[in-house]
Amino acid sequence: MAQQRSTFPSGGRDAVTRRIMDNSPARRRRSGAARHLLLSVAFLACSSQLLVVNANSWWSLALTPIQRPEMYIIGAQPSCSQLSGLSQGQRKLCQLYQDHISYIGEGARMGIKECQYQFRQRRWNCSTVDNSSVFGRVIQIGSREAAFTYSISAAGVVNAISRACREGELSTCGCSRSARPRDLPRDWLWGGCGDNVHYGYRFAREFVDAREREKNYPRGSTEHARTLMNIQNNEAGRQAAYNLANVACKCHGVSGSCSLKTCWLQLADFRRVGEFLKEKYDSAAAMRIGRKGKLELVDKRFNAPTSEDLVYIDTSPDYCLRNDTTGSLGTQGRMCNKTSEGMDGCELMCCGRGYDQFKTYKHERCHCKFHWCCYVKCKRCTSLVDQFVCK
């Protein structure tokens, strides 16, 4: 168990170190992944039995090929039937749109990364476990955190698919009215190919919701409520990615006038999507399953949530202490900020258990000279900083 304990805070420490020295993201990520890999072996050995098999999710596409041997063996294009975590419908979509799968994975990865950034200062820090359930048991509770996770990963898929579309990597992209690539040149000639953010949205809706739609729970059951919640949150995430895309226009009429104008959507910085969804997380609506088999507000005095709002059906578990039943990892070993009054402050983060203090050296580059690319001449500055870790 001691090994496991060191596993989980790793995510948290990762986040903190990221803040301190944000200069070499690639190297850091790689070392983080390696650490994950090593520790995950230990984790899997100990607690795989605790996890329900059912918890597999398409989020597992986010895992790198190193973590997914089956992807590694087959090569760049994994065979859909061998991908774990996909539901029946998703597997079908995977077969139809083979080239999309790696981008869905990228989208999930983006969502997870953003989730971890947004929650770096919270008790629940969106830490992942390295099996195909990705977030562990904690997501099985229909809490606010689960709501955020679903929405941000759906948003990530919209973003990634749209981006891939823009880069011309997807054969069906844009010309969405014709699913068959065979018709593509004719459509392209006639009306160009449609907007790629729209395509990203539509594809994400098909893919992400496929899992929820194919379940057939009795109306009014808790599982049904959870399905409805997931669908709502997925939609909220997709809409966030879609609506935050900003419109850029170019006038090109006579003498540069606006008599002819072309507009297109530009994807928003994914950080903005994350911030937006974080706000939605803070204002998420508590729901319960109603008699008609629909979600309804627990407290009727509030406004009913729109399709852009997050909803949840269960209260969050206690994230202070480790609890294998709920999947909570606890905050032991997490970094905290001694002076902060907020959630990242040591008082709140450590749930009153106190903290350890130690000193480390922080290395920074300073007095740099740059070119727009590939040329940096810096000095290295080192300073001694205090760090605090929850007991």
């Binding site: 803040r19 944000d22 070499s24 993201p25 690639a26 823009r166 880069e167 011309g168 054969s171 690539p181 593509l184 040149p185 392209w188 000639l189 006639w190 009306g191 160009g192 190919c193 907007d195 790629n196 419109v247 850029a248 226009c249 170019k250 090109h252 006579v254 003498s255 540069g256 606006c258 008599s259 002819l260 104008k261 072309t262 507009c263 297109w264 959507l265 910085d269 950080r271 580059r365 300073c366 740099c368 740059f370 070119h371 727009w372 690319c373 590939c374 040329y375 940096v376």
Partner: protein, 639 residues
């Protein structure tokens, strides 16, 4: 003072016949009812019945004025007594709009409306949206070869693709220099082809520049781009260079977030930069290679932040829209041409030189035909890059012609007894139009004209160019404002004069009043149609500006392309407007007949009057003002 007695009048203008002469109207009788038959469209049936026979005035009184005769003919014959023409808008005697029956006018209007609806529907339901924007993310290729090798082209994908790097951290690790990095973009995307149906292509550049605490974008930073454009027509042959240029673009980027360490790595929001414009898409594949050479000594590309990506957006016209557009033009050209020839034939058949209004209508028709002629068909077969510029010029000519037409149209109906009918009278109004159009033309030549030789040229790229372009546009804008003030003032004057004339209407006899009112109504109607056309243009323009991305509405299963509907609808509308103007202002057949009968009149004795009738529109410089006569007439009638 005159009375009916003093008139030697009859239908043939010969003064010998009885007519009303010698009849002094009793106080209860209005004299002019005798001379002014009801308007022709009210008497159609009767006139036909009485054709050939001795026409009697419908009121039954002993006035042998043939009712079928145009009131205006009477006016011509009796110009010294009842000069109705100079103070009425429809003194253009015998134009179709004046003589046509209301029923036919309404039917014609409905047909035109149907065509209008059809024009909208063609755009909305058949044509796709006018233009498409396609995104490209430039691949970062590494130039491993020697510097001297000029002809090497870097392909972002495909069989001969370049050595790519994913990001610049990788370049840093591999010790690749900035000068060795080539941004490559292939237009179009894989598996697609460009086509001459796309008509034009313009490319916009956008930088993704990451915010770095210690490597920020300097104030007024300029980016120097070494750009090359190549083409080929199949996937295997070599690339042929189309253009090569060193371009400078000003970076205007801002950071919406605070400049803290926490936000490092997030992107600036940079304005779109104009990059390239080609006036014809004659080739299937295009390739762009962009370098950003760094030279610290010359301060080239220094202080431009940390560029992460170059994104390009190419805009081209949709093939489907081009086809619909060409079809429309091909259909409209003969329609306008035929009506124009018909119109001018009728004008020339009259034995008088055409007046200014008629000439300007012809000019409007010519400019409409000029813009209609589908010379763009040639762009499918030939690589004519100047077609875009030519289209601009044609459009400019048409709109300045239309604006001039409105001014002259209103001016010719001003009825203020000043001598008009000459273009020089309108210099104050037409001047700004010509000057404004000329400014826009110069601007267009500076932008699109230069682009014929260097497609990367943009007038907006330099400060001087931007100021110059702004100056042109501002001057053109001021001219437009002046124009609209003039036009509003003129329309106001016209309406004021008309209502002034209207004041005297109640005093007139019923027939005469009806006639006047009919004419006034028709003039106003045409004025309103004009206003409606202009308003529709403005409204649709605003709609197309407002609805940004959702350029299509769902109508059941059909997708309605609002932008296309706007283009085809407005284009159809102006064509129909010009068509209607030419039709309505053509001399009518009835007048034609009158002309023949009035030939007698001319040969008889009133030959001197013949020259006068053209002048009826505006130019009676008579000693007795017409209003005086009306006043007297009214007075006389009351006696």
């Amino acid at each position: 003072m005159w009375t009916c007695v003093s008139l030697y009048f009859n239908a043939d203008c010969s003064r010998s016949r009885v007519g009303c002469s010698g009849i002094k109207p009793s106080p209860s009788q209005s004299c002019d009812s005798c001379f002014f038959p009801p308007p022709p469209w009210k008497l159609r049936g009767r006139s036909r019945a009485e054709k050939g026979g001795a026409a009697r005035f419908p009121t039954g009184r002993r006035c042998d004025v043939p009712p079928a005769r145009s009131w205006l003919l009477l006016a011509r014959c009796n110009i010294f007594f009842f000069p109705p023409a100079p103070d009425l808008p429809f003194a253009m005697a015998g134009a179709i709009i004046e003589n046509m029956s209301t029923k036919k006018l309404v039917i014609g209007g409905v047909i035109l409306l149907l065509f209008q609806a059809f024009a909208f529907m063609v755009g909305g339901l058949i044509a796709p949206s006018p233009t498409t924007a396609v995104h490209y993310l430039a691949s970062k290729c590494v130039d491993t070869g020697k510097q001297g090798q000029e002809t090497k082209w870097f392909m972002p994908w495909g069989p001969n693709q370049c050595d790519k790097i994913r990001n610049f951290d990788e370049a840093m690790a591999k010790k690749i220099e900035a000068n060795d990095i080539v941004f490559a973009a292939h237009i179009p995307l894989p598996k697609k082809e460009m086509s001459p149906w796309f008509q034009f292509m313009l490319v916009i550049l956008q930088f993704d520049i990451a915010f770095k605490m210690y490597n920020q974008i300097e104030e007024g930073a300029m980016v120097t781009l070494d750009v090359r454009l190549a083409y080929r027509d199949d996937t295997i042959s070599e690339w042929t260079e189309l253009a090569h240029s060193f371009e400078q673009r000003k970076l205007s980027c801002n950071l919406t977030i605070s400049k803290t360490m926490d936000n490092e790595g997030r992107c600036y929001e940079c304005d779109l930069l104009p990059f390239m414009e080609v006036g014809s898409v004659a080739h299937k594949y295009y390739l762009l290679n962009i370098r950003l050479p760094v030279n610290v000594r010359k301060k080239v590309n220094v202080g431009i932040g940390e560029i992460k990506d170059i994104r390009l957006v190419s805009i081209h016209q949709n093939g489907g829209f081009t086809k619909v557009w060409f079809a429309m033009k091909t259909f409209l050209t003969p329609s306008i041409l035929i009506i124009m020839i018909w119109y001018w034939r009728r004008i020339t058949l009259m034995n008088r030189p055409p007046v200014l209004l008629e000439k300007i209508i012809l000019a409007l028709g010519i400019s409409m035909t000029f813009i209609n002629i589908p010379v763009e068909w040639f762009s499918i077969g030939f690589n004519w890059t100047w077609m875009l510029l030519f289209g601009d010029i044609r459009q400019g000519i048409f709109y300045s012609m239309l604006l001039s037409f409105w001014i002259i149209f209103c001016g010719e109906h001003l009825m203020d007894q000043t001598e008009r009918n000459r273009l020089s009278v309108y210099w104050k109004q037409v001047g700004p139009i010509v000057f404004g159009s000329f400014c826009l033309f110069i601007f267009d030549m500076c932008e699109r004209g230069v682009q014929l030789t260097n497609p990367f040229y943009s007038i907006w790229a330099t400060d001087v160019g931007t100021e110059l372009a702004m100056a042109f546009i501002i001057v053109a804008g001021i001219c437009a404002c002046l124009y609209f003030l003039f036009l509003c003032f003129m329309v106001f004057q016209v309406f004021r004069n008309i209502s002034g004339k209207r004041m005297s209407l109640p005093a007139m006899s019923k027939a005469r009043r009806l006639h006047y009112e009919g004419l006034i109504f028709r003039f106003k109607f045409l004025m309103l149609v004009t206003l409606f056309c202009a308003a529709m243009t403005v409204i649709f323009f605003i709609i197309s500006q407002l609805q940004v991305n959702e350029g299509h509405w769902h109508l059941g299963d059909h997708m309605v392309q609002v932008n296309s509907a706007f283009f085809t609808g407005i284009y159809g509308m102006w064509n129909l407007y010009v068509f209607a103007i030419m039709f309505l202002y053509a001399p009518s057949h009835k007048r034609y007949g009158d002309e023949q009968s009035s030939a007698q009149c001319i040969t008889g004795d009133a030959g001197g009057n013949n020259g006068e009738d053209i002048q009826l529109t505006t130019t009676i410089t008579h000693v007795d003002g017409p209003s005086e006569i009306y006043r007297l007439a009214g007075k006389d009638a009351q006696e």
